[in-house]
Homo-oligomer: 340 residues x 2
DNA sequence: CCTGGAAACGTAACCGATAACGATTGCAGT
DNA sequence: ACTGCAATCGTTATCGGTTACGTTTCCAGG
């Protein structure tokens, strides 16, 4: 790093080129009304001084910035995967991306974080935003696309087919012979959490297995929230033979607790997650889970936001993406399974 | 999303509370010189209008913003892992994080990207920046910490012990009986690429194995750059029995090419990578690689940057972190190995 | 030579917030 | 009542860049 006392501003360029800042601005933005000779002078001054326009100053004055924003409450694997998809969709689109993350709420929820971040950014800095797993409805001047929206929201959003995914997951467990299947729910306000629970209930209902409320733990998608819940479930006199967790992060914590309490997986306990984050493939045993292509979620959200900003979106404003079951080593028939 | 016509600014709050913007600013920033009654009025107006200060306007005026920046040329797994560490280090530190990514150069290098991004941000928006795998030296008004710096740089930086890591990797292959070991190098300007090649050469030299220049391919750390190089190596009449790639991304491409050309791994070909990105654990077979804890790199870089900004850093400005070899299924003795 | 109009360029207001500074008020001490 | 000092609060310049508007320059046509 080379220390530099002061940054090069537009007025430095103007002085060097012997013109006004207005003219420099016109040259930088390729506006009409500058002679070829002046353009050349200004360009050369810019080159020499190494001038680069300030994102901040520009966005304060301008309405369009060609920058899209993304706000997320933390950076776990889920968000990282989403991000890859977003970047891919924005590749060579002319839109840059700003990700804003607040240090205060890392790993813990704090009501309304997304609204605070968004307001700070969308004042002028960004033309639109993607919000990952919002807390509530969002007021904004610029377009917002939610990934995994709140329940009942009619705003633009992208989400997985959580109902079908969860149903398939529980059907998988039922098919293996499990009858006492625990469930660890996600944050209730999110549509995804609700649908995954619906899928759990629907699959059980179809199979004629009654839902035991004692086997349902109320988490919030944060991995840490699952630890005490798993402990409670597994320390019951009649623990479930399988647990379906509404996210991989929580499912991995279930595996941890199971190991800690001496349950062998999948011998004593089958575990299924939801998301298919990279870590799920590399645990011992691998986690059976529902793949929801977070990459695809990010990709589609960015594609939609881009078009919403330019005003060319004419497809439905709510996208649902398919899921698929990924069977790995964490599921097997229960020991006590009555052979068919 | 709820559409809102205009954002709430400080003057709106001032008008509503019947004071000047200066007073509102003082209340917002908790400055001295406002009566309790006025504070209450302003607070209530802020609450009612849902005011949130504009990050842009604030940073334009202020020198300190309590926002740190991170610029990276793309978002592969490497960057995502680094990011997790950065977020952890910034947790509850009072510093927010802005990640800036330019869409134009996704996946492809473009000289000087980091300088352009940095200038745009550091004008006023950020108090300091982390640059991941920079291209060259960086001019900046504010502190900059490089993760995986350029060769010969004396600027603040965090990097893995690439020399030791690479040496260990190649020693592992030599220990298995390999003698013809190919190498796919990284982008030459980076210190890491250079050290990893040094490690490769050093290990061979120690074992008395001559370096065959024909077995060295010149990549640039981008996974795609490895594909043609691997093809050339493996289509030789006398292909190497093992390949050491300077990054996991490139190593995974080697696996792809090997499969495509009918090489079985590790039967016909052993492959070793460097980085230990999450994907490396979940391929078939798993990739043997050198773990450099990208999480730790990010964590340390953020910790250093934080202290540099506040001026309390008194440790060495160049941090080197240890590496460790992770042996998985992609390495085995060569078929033709002379048994010891 | 004069005029008209377009092209080229500068001036200044403005975006939202901050901070230096000045102005006003209240109150204690004389 | 008067002074002096704090506490409180408004005015205004400022950050860097953009743009509406006004002014100057230049050239073609009469």
């Amino acid at each position: 790093m080379i220390e530099v006392n002061a940054p090069v501003t537009m007025s430095d360029v103007a002085r060097a080129a012997g013109v006004s800042t207005a003219t420099v601005s016109r040259v930088v933005n390729g506006h009409y009304g500058v002679s070829a000779r002046t353009v050349a002078q200004v360009r050369s001054a810019i080159e020499q001084l190494g001038y680069e326009s300030s994102l901040v100053a520009t966005s304060l004055r301008r309405s369009r910035t060609n920058v899209l924003g993304l706000v997320a409450h933390s950076f776990q694997s889920y968000t990282a995967e989403v991000l890859k998809g977003v970047m891919k969709a924005l590749s060579r689109s002319g839109f840059d991306l700003i990700i804003y993350a607040n240090s205060d709420l890392y790993g813990s929820y704090s009501e309304g974080w997304e609204q605070r971040h968004l307001t700070r950014l969308s004042g002028t800095l960004t033309d639109g935003c993607i919000v990952v797993t919002p807390w509530g409805d969002i007021r904004s001047r610029t377009p917002v696309v939610a990934i995994d929206p709140v329940r009942g929201s009619t705003a633009p959003s992208v989400m997985a087919d959580n109902l079908a995914g969860a149903t398939t997951a529980v059907e998988h467990l039922l098919g293996l012979g499990h009858r006492r299947i625990g469930f660890i729910a996600g944050r209730d306000s999110l549509a995804s959490a609700w649908s995954r629970e619906e899928g759990y209930r629907a699959a059980l209902a179809t199979a004629g297995v009654p839902v035991d409320p004692a086997l349902i733990g109320r988490g919030d998608f944060n991995p840490e929230s699952a630890t005490p819940l798993a402990r409670v479930l597994l320390q019951r006199p009649d623990p479930p033979s399988a647990i379906f967790a509404a996210s991989d992060g929580m499912a991995l914590k279930v595996l941890e607790v199971a190991r800690e309490l001496g349950f062998s997986v999948p011998g004593d306990l089958s575990v299924v997650g939801f998301d298919n984050i990279p870590e799920s493939a590399s645990t011992q045993p691998g986690l059976t889970t529902v793949d929801q292509s977070m990459y695809q979620l990010g990709y589609e959200a960015a594609r939609m936001l881009k078009s919403l900003v330019t005003g060319e979106w004419d497809e439905p404003r709510q996208i649902v993406l398919p899921t698929s079951l990924v069977v790995r080593g964490s599921t097997a028939p229960p020991k006590s399974a009555a052979r068919p």
